[in-house]
Symmetry: C2
Subunit: 283 residues, 2 copies
């Protein structure tokens, strides 16, 4: 059995290898400024932070280290959201990888974890929306400058992420017991085909479930809803199996429009980690 | 600057991602029993052994650990030869990554390193030829059973590999100052295009230089020479740029015939590591 930090790194690699993943970098697709090898280097760089989580470090410290290592490549942000899911999952796997345990991990985060989370934004350019007025002093783009306000208000990392829901489906996993991550793992277990094919299938099913929140932030609700409806139509008729060309056309179109469903990829990576840990996906 | 163990793992990943690499698994190619994700998991698993080498462990111990981790996936041997090059290179990078330093690393190996090398064969099914009669008690397929004979004859790991030349171009790197690995790095630096394109170009150039010794072992000298001549013809007319379909046809044909130039891939991975360390290939 592969140790948790290795499974987490492998989950990042399997996620980006899965193809086709409409709109995103995959084994057969580079974007103009963001290429496959940036994701490979991002996964390699994240490993030390994932090892810290496996060794029992606090979620914030492990996340900050993972992001710092991930960002040491020329593609900038490749796996920030995925790491925000993987770090608490790896931490939970020290005891037991279940929804209640990972809930207790995230609910146990502290103000210091929140401060580390803010510092992580200094390593990398993450796409975020403007916060509501009362949260403006806690705009993540302030990085460590926001730490005194965090401390003054006594906000833990769980509190910070809880305030980002709705609108951010990575944060939503934190406050909803990682339900979609565990669902993704179950779907990966139930799917057939190679790991790459299963990953593509589960990515499409997740995209069909809910509008991708990164797409909402960048392109608005209407576009995000349209993308989800198209994904649902393809998923319902099992197009990856029966009509792969239509999925490929959808993928080409999203790339052409600059629409990349990054949140869905993050949840897919979390699901891959859980499936690897449970050995219902074997490599 | 990425630390050496990370660069070594990334070199393994970039090697398998480079496409097209005629006859081998690559970003766009799976073989029937050996898939891309086996190489991803192999690289992830090798990391701990590579970290040991970076921390100053002996070459044999680090190699045995790297191979044990690499082999923990369903594709069996993915990167044995590449690790036999990367481990001494990572060890050399502690001081200086140059040909004289890596020569002194391999010449300084001991009988204990040789014993660890033999034990490494117990983790994985490596394709090897029958040894000459006087080396029969030291057939690597004996694994640790051969250790008493090694000790009796006082053979170091350098001695063991030196006796495998000619016939094994990974072993040849050990006794020839890693000349092709450093040459590959220089070619990677001089090449143009994305890392994946450079990797494909350098792989083809190395295949054009010398018959691949894994192909010799599996298919004989005539086939290996023919493959090299074909690669040379494609390389000379810059077919990757000017006539990519002909390279693709060559790749399809080799896969159809079960010809995979694995030694050339091993040297490519070593070159990638050196190029990453020297920052003449940036990701």
């Amino acid at each position: 059995m592969r140790p948790p930090a290795q499974n987490a790194e492998l989950a990042l690699l399997l996620e980006v290898a899965g193809t086709p993943k409409p709109g995103n970098v995959d084994r057969r697709r580079d974007l103009e400024e963001l290429r496959f090898e940036h994701f490979l280097a991002g996964a390699v760089g994240a490993r030390d932070g994932l090892e810290m989580a496996a060794d029992g470090a606090s979620v914030g410290a492990a996340f900050e280290r993972a992001v710092g290592g991930m960002a040491a490549q020329g593609g900038d942000n490749t796996q920030f959201g995925a790491l925000l899911l993987l770090v608490p999952l790896v931490r939970a796997a020290r005891n037991e990888l279940s929804q209640p345990v990972v809930e207790s991990v995230v609910e146990g985060t502290t103000v210091a974890d929140a401060a580390a989370f803010y510092r992580a934004f200094e390593h990398v350019d993450v796409f975020v929306s403007d916060p509501p007025a009362e949260m403006e002093p806690l705009d993540v783009r302030r990085g460590s400058d926001a730490v005194p306000v965090l401390e003054e208000r006594g906000l833990t990392l769980f509190d910070v992420l809880d305030r980002s829901v709705p609108g951010d489906d990575v944060a939503r996993e934190w406050s909803h017991g990682f339900e979609r991550s565990f669902l993704a793992a179950q779907r990966l277990a139930d799917a057939s085909g190679t790991p790459s094919e299963r990953t593509a299938s589960v990515f499409l099913s997740l995209l069909a479930d809910r509008p991708d929140t990164l797409v909402v932030k960048r392109h608005g609700e209407v576009t995000a809803r349209e993308v989800t409806d198209r994904a649902a139509e393809l998923h319902e008729r099992d197009a990856l199996e029966t009509d792969p060309d239509s999925v490929k056309a959808f993928a080409d179109e999203l790339v052409g429009r600059g629409v990349n469903p990054g949140t869905t990829a993050d949840v897919t990576a979390a699901g891959l980690f859980i499936a690897l840990e449970r050995e219902c996906l074997e490599i």
